[in-house]
Amino acid sequence: MHRNDFVRQLNSPGGDRRPSRVMHIDIPLLLILIALCSIGLAVLYSASAESIFYVKRQATFMVIGLFSMIVIAQFKPRLWERWSIFIYLCGLLSLVAVLFFGVGAKGAQRWLDLGVTRFQPSELMKIAVPMTLASYLSKRHIPPRFKHVSLAVIATTIPVLLVAKQPDLGTSLIIFSSGFFALFLAGLGKRYLLSTALLAMAAVPTLWFYVMLDYQKQRVLTLLSPEQDKLGAGWNIMQSTTAIGSGGWSGKGWTQGTQSQLNFLPESHTDFIIAVLAEEFGLIGVLGMLVLYLLLIGRCMIISLNAQSMFGRIMAGTISLTFFVYIFVNMGMVSGILPVVGAPLPFISYGGTAIVTLFLGFGILMAISTEPKRI
């Protein structure tokens, strides 16, 4: 039945009175999200040594996320378009506040203590940056002119640097790529693309010698020779590749993964959770997971193609591409082809704030997908 929905919606993006339209819910998107969350909870149960505590907490956050998504979807995209700059400025201000009054854990300063709860401004920026850029660029000349490109680059760079300084390289990378995607989708000229590529190549030595902290360099070196760092990241990579590799075609079975269950695999319920999935469900499990992710991204891309405004297009496109960056960085790092940065696997890794942020993004996507046609 939902396949019919899918087809119908493809053909008639607006103007009907079906409940899903009135509620501003995109049924295919919702179904894929629910499927991902269910798989996530099952894997988490196994990865956390069968801890009901973790699963309950994670499920709570998922429910909160789902509700927030539906609430967000009720607002018109025009509203986000108009208010994005304020959200951005608030985010920027709180990032600066983190620099001075932030509280943190394990050497990183990421949170603002608001008394009742802790708030992580960098999470907000993951949405605020693409939203602001989409709003700004869609109102200007398409493709963007030099002036617009420069301003967009500055608006992206400031939060990227502030977050990198906390230090939180993973999130900083996500914000950076969302800024780049927004510009690219707005039609950034070929000259700019070429110079960006050259600049990136030049930036590598600069980053290495002036910006990156010792432990971050260590992560990169670890990628090259994992044996060097036995208690830290190198150990993680050695163990995670063994876990993945020993999964074979169909895996060892749910909760039967020896690597993860015997505590060889550190961080198994957070950043390295894909290794648990790969060990217990094999390559078939990994492929199934990837198919679900690609379906999600494909659905988002269709939404962005059908969006009613340039803002909607850029915003939806950016959210779907950024989502892919999460997946690629995480699965690449756990399988040992990318350096270890803190990057969770969306909807599978344990972690409340990240999940709620993800759902908020998809809430905006739903708002865009169900916006009535305006000609």
């Binding site: 394990k106 039609g187 208690l231 993945i244 074979g248 020896t258 790969a278 990994v286 193609l305 082809i337």
Partner: protein, 619 residues
């Protein structure tokens, strides 16, 4: 509809966007392919390798705990040691029946209900195959019993750890502090890898201040385990590096003499080696046994310490802030001499009261009832007999700005910079201070109170000792330090760029007056001069714990003992070639001369005795 829509073509925009999105879709698929190739490579092409490796993967990397740096006193006497301590741990996965194992264990050694309750709590937070502690500090006998019954206690193990031990118990509690279990808050901020071999961290005192040096570097070892996770052999080991050893300036003997001299009185004493600023003794009485905290203090013991009226956990030496009272008179005397506000020949008549123009209520001397200190009171007499009336006038004429400036130079009103956490700054009031903290202007009445060390003024016993040392050294400014050497390498003396500039003849004059406080027949500390073979220079002080109205007389029979005046004393010895300076307070001790000075004398005697005997040996 949009601002610049007039210039753009929506249809062309759509097509451009669609093309761009197509590019990203292709790139997305390509990158997904990269991932698939990688996972295929790991899971299918190299499956055999990894499957074998995983099957044989009984190799665990375990942290090797470094041993914490030791702490010695100046004579190489050990005051913080590490001792092996044995815990009984359980890995439930290895026992066939956990409940039976617990029951069996209870049969051979004593295990309380509380132990089991706590064990179950820890069990919930652990990872599979992690050792979980059931009992701490097993005795030798218990270990032997467990070893004999080992065969029927599968799943239980005894594990050894080094535990901090303070051989002298309460003697150094406030100096060395203690280590304790890493709590949740601390575990949020420490580097996990660095602490992977240990579960304790410096909580207060030197243990906290020098945590980075004392901790050492964690090592690692690769061990092979059998199918049940039990270690069968060690494959590879990277040794840990012990923490740095600290040698203190503290002299255990002086510390002991000092603490004993307090008997059951409350208070604090700090003794400083004048040449280096090294702290020879630092006492806060009463003290407590830091060993209680090392493996976790019981709630009952903790409540006893926390709610005791005598507040043994409170470090009076660096955190207790008291009005310094008359102990600041030599310092303010020097200030006034240097600025020629008074001269040695300037004398006043004191009948017990001091009137200030425009203020009706007089300030009084402590002996106003006997009619004051009488005729011909000069600065020396004002110090020796502690005449307040002289200092009221001196203070007003010198002015708060200069008093405050010199107070600061002698170390009052700001932290001294000693190598301990949590030091309090006290208060050396000034116009700016009062404006800032009270929002009020400075009045002459404030100056008058300040000139006898009362009013807003507050200082810690450590600050009193620093002031005493700076007077003794004729203005040399040294930062007090506890640690003399790290790993045998002497730490440099921390010296200010500029000495306190006061003329020699003024130092001579005030030093002589301070000697007469102890050695003349009318000195307020004359009671301690009996049988002295060397000379002490000092100054007594009394600080009000509560305020007394001008009309009332302080009468200890009418107020509770906890509100009696505090007794203070600063002193240095030998007076002609000062080596050691002391600042001390006895809470509710009433008179500096009778309650505080004898404690200083005991410490000086011990110092002179041990130092003259070493001098003999050297010869």
């Amino acid at each position: 509809m949009r601002d610049s829509a007039a210039f753009s073509d929506p249809a062309r925009e759509r097509i451009m966007f669609a093309r761009r999105l197509l590019v990203t879709a292709v790139v997305t698929l390509l990158l997904t392919l990269v991932l698939i190739v990688r996972y295929f490579d790991l899971q299918i092409s190299r499956y055999e390798d990894f499957a074998t490796q995983s099957n044989n993967n009984r190799v665990l990397v375990r942290p090797v705990a470094p041993s914490r740096g030791l702490i010695y006193d100046r004579n190489s006497k050990l005051i913080a040691d590490n001792r092996p301590s044995y815990n009984l741990t359980i890995v439930p996965e290895r026992s066939r029946d956990l409940e039976k194992l617990l029951a069996d264990l209870g049969d051979v050694i004593s295990i309380s209900e509380r132990d089991i309750k706590r064990f179950r709590k820890r069990l919930q937070q652990r990872r599979p195959y992690e050792q979980t502690s059931l009992r701490f500090n097993l005795s030798e006998e218990e270990r032997a019993t467990l070893a004999v019954n080992g065969h029927r206690l599968v799943g239980a193990e005894t594990s050894a750890r080094l535990k901090r031990f303070y051989p002298d118990g309460q003697l150094f509690a406030h100096v060395v502090g203690y280590v304790g279990r890493i709590n949740e808050r601390e575990s949020q901020t420490i580097e996990t890898v660095k602490y992977s071999g240990t579960d304790s961290i410096g909580k207060i005192g030197l243990e906290k201040f020098y945590e980075q040096q004392l901790l050492g570097e964690v090592g690692s070892e690769q061990v092979e385990t059998n199918a049940l996770g039990r270690v069968t052999r060690v494959l590879d080991k990277t040794g840990s590096v012990s923490g740095d050893n600290l040698t203190l300036h503290i002299d255990s003997n002086l510390q002991k003499v000092g603490l004993d001299a307090f008997k059951d009185k409350r208070g604090a004493l700090v003794a400083i080696e004048i040449e280096t600023g090294g702290v020879l003794a630092m006492i806060s009485a009463p003290s407590y046994d830091p060993n209680l905290f090392v493996t976790g203090i019981s709630q009952k013991n903790y409540d006893n310490l926390l709610y005791s009226k005598d507040r043994p956990l409170f470090d009076r030496a660096i955190r207790g802030q008291y009005p310094p009272g008359s102990t600041i008179k030599p310092m303010f005397g020097l200030t006034a001499l240097q600025h020629r506000v008074v001269t040695p020949s300037y004398k006043i008549k004191d009948n017990g009261y001091f009137y200030f123009k425009g203020i009706e209520r007089p300030w009084r001397d402590h002996n106003f009832a006997r009619g004051g200190h009488g005729d011909g009171v000069d600065l020396a007499k004002a110090i020796i007999e502690s005449c307040n009336i002289y200092f009221y006038g001196l203070g007003v004429k010198t002015g708060i700005d200069r008093l405050s400036d010199y107070g600061g130079q002698f170390g009052l009103g700001s932290t001294t910079g000693i190598d301990l956490p949590g030091e309090k700054p006290g208060i050396m009031p000034s116009r700016a201070w009062k404006k800032g903290s009270r929002g009020q202007s400075w009045y002459n009445g404030d100056t008058i109170n300040t000139s006898i060390g009362q009013g807003f003024m507050l200082s810690t016993p450590l600050q009193l000792a620093v002031m005493s040392a700076r007077i003794a050294s004729r203005g040399e400014v040294r930062t007090p330090q506890l640690v003399k050497a790290i790993n045998g390498i002497d730490q440099p003396t921390i010296t200010a760029e500029k000495d306190i500039s006061i003329s020699d003849q003024h130092w001579d004059y005030v030093h002589k007056a301070m000697q007469n406080v102890v050695h003349s027949g009318r000195g307020t500390a004359r009671s301690i001069n009996k049988g002295l073979t060397y000379r002490i220079a000092g100054k007594t002080g009394t600080a009000q714990a509560i305020s007394i109205d001008a009309e009332d007389k302080y009468d200890n029979t009418k107020i509770a003992k906890r509100q009696w005046d505090h007794a203070l004393f600063i002193a240095f010895a030998p007076a002609d070639d000062p080596k050691i300076a002391i600042g001390l307070i006895v809470e509710n001790g009433e008179h500096g001369g009778s309650a505080a000075a004898p404690i200083a004398r005991a410490v000086f005697d011990a110092y002179m005795q041990s130092n003259s005997s070493t001098a003999l040996v050297e010869r």
